[in-house]
């Protein structure tokens, strides 16, 4: 208790005396940026997920071939979840002797829960968003049905036993995208009309769906409840399982945001480490005096530890509150980018902020602050006796442990965190070595220069240890900023380029083998480029290495779903250009007749398919057996046609196949599509431009969020700059006062300070540019799987930016020394 109260008293005195301001500021900024980034990313991510939830028209969807039990709905009501129901089934519509297979969807009033329907009130009218659904007795149709059935708005059609009035054209249906390969055109009616149509018989192929939306915790609760209900034949779908393109876009968006948050932490950690070092130097007298006055090493250590802990708690709390304020400003800034309301903050980032503050202090301050307990009491007589240097193992161990925890925690990706840490550790060693080398190289220059140059150079080499630490601090700061800038500019651009403006926006499916050449010719004649058509064979995976595949073999819903459905298999001579082999090798022409499979890596991981596994598929009642000889990564968000499993021509040839292709169709060439459909009426054309727009919107918002978060990192960078400059403050004050007393003019003193810091910044820039290039290469190639190009501008920016930034900051920090009389300056030491 005594130690606590003494520690708190000392803390209060330190604070008043300004001893702790730098450390506290660094800590507050670290915590504020972590919490604001945490709150912000948490909310934005949830908003992005909600936006993406449009693909399901819900946050969670239950899907069954049987009517859904009433208790499922009741349980949702109890949890205050919003709900809607849809019933979908194929049917035939008759009009004037024309018959057409359609996909009927009967919806309840609240449909869709996420996203909106776009409709047209006349064939030539505008696309309008609506919250309505067809009134009883009304039907809304997909546009392509009108020419097929010779209908117009206002006409009536018969669906089963009931006559319907055609009142609207549906141009966009949010959850349509989740079933891209639904062939038949949409017909939407009110759920209350369904029974009267008499269309639902015992043998009907019906999908009953319950759509749910609400708070994440309520959804989670519902999900775990339903998983304990032992319900057969019900699939639970959420956004991540819905479409791989969107899942990828979301995951990457999240990764970018967390990477940005992690860089803010890294910068603040540098600032905290630098300012703790200075704190220890300045507190050595206190420690020596306390020992002199009879305090034991343990007592001194305890008092400093408690001081640090209370400091950590107070600063973290302050940082957290600032973070909370900042994130609401930020949300206000970007909120309008989202079509929906941003979800309110969860308390989790609050704890993570406090945790971060304490962890940063423990890892980066404690080892050096505890050194204070070992300051020899003899320092009261011999001022040069400082705290013994801290054991490398202890300080590096503590720093790495806390950094590791922080990064894994923030990034949520062990691999990325591990690479960042090892990159940084390697970088740190390089930085220290190069810094030391540069400082040594500067020494001889000093004797060959004159005037301000000599003072500037002398300042750098007067204390090689401090200069190396400064250089390392600045270097690390600039490196982190550069990496972030590159992540932001290069990687985000690359990311967006992965979905270029001319990505395929049309799919043609159900092309029969004898139609392939004709389709190819029409497209070619119309100047449309396409890699396809690709053969598509329906098959079900039944065994992996002689183990039968069933839903019971898997825990994850995605794996269960995959195990339970037909795959689209294909065959190919060459691998598609946007695929990449991650393991094994693609087959050569001599190997075309081997019974081999190529499997997409994500699928292999989900279903537990190892390399060299023997897979057995059932295709049209026949078993096809082959060995997995390579795993591929597939760029799902490219909108090219891609397959989870591809076989060799020898293995797959002769199987019943239809063909599929995708291509980019500019607006002005739409008539070509009409020509194609007229000539081959059985082919289904699917327009995915709406889905693509959605993916693009998610990416764009991700980019904007990263850019906003980038601002925090910049502030953190400024603090590193400040901390670095303060590291040599005492010595500089003393020297400046002496030099001025001896008659050095303010102008020359200013020049020497400017030279000192500009040189320091420029050198840090050189080291950082090299280090950042290596790290960005690793990030781009290993983590984001994007192309990397050397960035020469980065070197220019790093060196000039470092020299200018550090130079200006150094001058600003030194101005008080120049403007105050030397005696006043000396007295402050």
């Amino acid at each position: 208790m005594k130690a606590w109260s003494l520690a708190l008293k000392l803390l209060r005195r330190d604070w008043r005396a300004g001893e702790l301001r730098l450390l506290v500021t660094a800590l507050v900024i670290a915590v504020a940026s972590v919490t604001s980034v945490g709150f912000f990313t948490d909310r934005i991510e949830r908003a992005m997920q909600r936006q993406a939830a449009e693909v399901l028209a819900a946050d969670l969807r239950l899907d069954s071939s049987q009517p859904l039990d009433e208790k499922l709905l009741q349980a949702a009501d109890q949890r205050q979840l919003r709900s809607a129901q849809t019933v979908g089934f194929p049917s035939v519509v008759l009009n004037d002797g024309n018959t057409q297979l359609v996909q009927v969807k009967a919806v309840t009033q609240t449909y869709p829960l996420r996203g909106r329907l776009l409709i047209r009130e006349s064939t030539t009218g505008e696309n309008l968003p609506t919250q309505d659904i067809p009134l009883p007795g009304e039907v809304w149709l997909e546009e392509r049905l009108l020419p097929l059935l010779g209908l117009d708005i206002g006409d009536t059609i018969k669906l089963g036993q009931l006559q319907f009035h055609v009142s609207r054209v549906i141009t966009y249906e949010p959850d349509r995208a989740s079933n891209l390969f639904q062939l038949a055109p949409r017909v939407m009616i009110n759920r209350s009309d369904l029974a009267a149509t008499g269309l639902l018989g015992p043998a009907s192929r019906v999908r009953y769906r319950l759509l749910l939306a609400g708070e994440a915790s309520a959804l989670e609760g519902y999900r775990s409840w339903i998983e304990n209900q032992d319900l057969k034949n019900i699939q639970i779908e959420d956004i991540r399982g819905a479409r791989p393109e969107l899942r990828l876009a979301l995951d990457r968006g999240g990764r970018f945001l967390h990477l940005t948050a992690a860089t803010a932490i890294l910068l603040c950690v540098v600032a905290v480490a630098l300012s703790s070092r200075r704190f220890v130097e300045r507190q050595a007298d206190t420690s020596a005096l306390m020992r002199c006055l009879g305090a034991s090493q343990h007592q001194v250590g305890k008092i400093f530890f408690l001081r640090l802990l209370s400091l950590g708690l107070i600063a973290s709390l302050a940082g957290t509150l600032i973070g909370l304020l900042l994130q609401s400003l930020l949300i206000g800034l970007v909120g309008h980018w989202f079509t929906q309301q941003i979800p309110s903050p969860t308390p989790w980032p609050l704890f993570s902020g406090l945790g971060t503050g304490i962890l940063v202090l423990l890892g980066f301050s404690l080892p050096s602050v505890l050194r204070l307990s070992r300051v020899p009491p003899l320092r009261v007589f011999r001022r040069h006796l400082g705290a013994p240097s801290v054991g490398y193992q202890l300080s590096i161990g503590a720093a790495l442990t806390s950094l590791g925890i922080l990064l894994v925690w923030q990034i949520g990706d062990d691999k990325l965190a591990f690479q960042l840490i090892s990159g940084l550790l390697g970088g740190l060693v390089v930085l220290l070595l190069v810094s030391h080398l540069l400082v040594t190289l500067l020494k001889p220059l000093r004797t060959r220069s004159a005037g301000s140059w000599r003072y500037g150079l002398a300042s750098l080499s007067r204390n090689p240890a401090t200069t190396s630490v400064q250089l390392t601090g600045f270097g690390l700061g600039i490196t982190v900023l550069l990496i972030l800038a590159m992540v932001r500019v290069d990687l985000l651009d690359n990311w967006r380029n992965a979905l270029p403006a001319e990505s395929p926006n049309q799919f043609l499916i159900n092309i029969q083998p004898h139609e392939v050449d004709g389709v190819r010719q029409i497209l070619h004649a119309g100047g449309i480029e396409s890699d396809g058509p690709f053969p598509m064979i329906r098959g079900r995976l039944i065994r992996i290495n002689d183990q039968a595949v069933s839903t019971d073999s898997y825990a994850s819903p995605r794996a269960q779903r995959l195990a339970n459905r037909d795959f689209n298999l294909s065959l190919a001579n060459e691998m598609q250009s946007d695929n990449k082999i991650v393991s094994g090798r693609w087959w050569s022409p001599q190997q075309y007749d081997k019974p081999w499979f190529s499997v997409e890596e994500g699928l292999a991981e989900t279903l537990g398919i190892p390399m060299d596994a023997e897979l057995v598929f059932e295709v049209a009642g026949q078993e096809i057996k082959g060995v997995v000889t390579n795993l591929r990564s597939v760029q799902w968000d490219s909108f090219n046609v891609n397959f989870f499993v591809v076989g060799t021509p020898g293995l797959m040839a002769g199987q019943p196949a239809s063909y599929i292709t995708s291509f980019y169709l500019p607006k002005e060439k739409r008539p070509l599509l009409h020509q194609l459909i007229q000539q081959y009426p059985s082919i289904t054309a699917l327009d995915v431009s709406a889905l693509m727009q959605q993916v693009r919107a998610i990416m764009d918002r991700g980019v904007m969020a990263v850019e906003s978060v980038f601002l925090f990192t910049l502030v953190a960078g400024v603090i590193v700059l400040y901390a670095g400059i303060q590291a040599s403050r005492e010595l500089r004050i003393q020297e400046a006062a002496i030099l001025r007393t001896l008659g050095l003019s303010r102008r020359r003193l200013l020049l020497s300070v400017m030279l000192e810091f500009t040189l320091l910044g420029g050198l840090a820039g050189i080291i950082s540019a090299g280090l950042a290039s290596v790290i960005s290469y690793t990030l781009a190639t290993a983590i984001f799987e994007l192309a990397w190009q050397p960035n020469y501008w980065m070197w220019v920016v790093a060196i000039l930016g470092g020299a200018l930034g550090v130079g200006i900051a150094g001058i600003l920090a030194s101005l008080p020394l120049l403007n105050n009389p030397p005696l006043a300056v000396m007295r402050k030491i």
């Binding site: 005195r13 006055l293 034991s296 020899p376 003899l378 007589f381």
Partner: protein, 230 residues
């Protein structure tokens, strides 16, 4: 070995030796110093710069370890204790006054004086510190920071800090060397007043003969050897 009662001779040294190994060989700083200081006695250790005065003071106070010989504080041989044991021996019973004052710049005069009291778990450090400062004539300066005080005032704060816990032994290292003669005299006056009033043992290191004359005994240190009877 000298066997004396700790009250009779709170500070003793026998054969006290200190040397350091340098690149040019062994450098002797103190050689075979014998010393007995009686309770309430004021002893001056005189010598030129570099004669080893501060080293002797550091060894007697247990701030440093001897190369050979023995120093005892309150009857306890210091070499038998570790750093913490020596600190515990000093706690509340040993005070210091330094040439460069050694006030903590971040603390006010009052807080500086409170520090040793707080470390010794004094029941009311605030009150005791105020009394000590008023005895030093600094009642008006309680909340000033060292940088806002003159040199003399700073040293008076240091003396107040040294006497506040009512120590048995006070080590003073050139307490007036950084002050002008007039201020130095006032500070010395105060130092000896308090010493006499409290019956404190004073071990004073100085090169100032005038100051040394006010002590009960004067010892001269030359080339690391003590010449006591001049």
């Amino acid at each position: 070995m000298l066997q004396t009662s700790s009250l009779q001779h709170p500070v003793t040294a026998s054969g006290l030796t200190k040397f350091v190994d340098t690149s040019e060989g062994r450098l002797d700083i103190l050689q075979q110093v014998d010393l007995q200081v009686e309770g309430g006695e004021a002893v001056a250790i005189l010598g030129a710069s570099g004669s080893g005065k501060s080293t002797l003071l550091g060894l007697l106070a247990g701030l440093d370890e001897a190369s050979a010989g023995e120093a005892c504080l309150f009857g306890t041989p210091l070499h038998t204790l570790d750093e913490d044991g020596r600190a515990a021996l000093r706690a509340g019973k040993v005070g210091f006054v330094f040439q460069s004052f050694q006030l903590l710049s971040g603390m006010t005069a009052l807080e500086n004086v409170m520090l040793p009291l707080e470390l010794a778990h004094h029941p009311s450090p605030d009150e005791a510190a105020k009394i000590a400062l008023s005895q030093a004539g600094l009642s008006e300066r309680l909340h000033h920071y060292p940088s806002q005080l003159s040199g003399g005032e700073q040293q008076r704060v240091a003396i107040a800090r040294a006497f506040a816990p009512d120590p048995t032994v006070l080590f003073a290292d050139e307490p007036t060397a950084n002050l002008d003669s007039h201020t130095g005299e006032r500070v010395a006056e105060m130092l000896f007043d308090l010493q006499e009033k409290n019956g404190t043992v004073l071990i004073l290191v100085t090169h100032d003969e005038m100051l040394a004359r006010r002590c009960d005994r004067r010892l001269h240190l030359k080339d690391g050897r003590l010449d006591s009877n001049r």
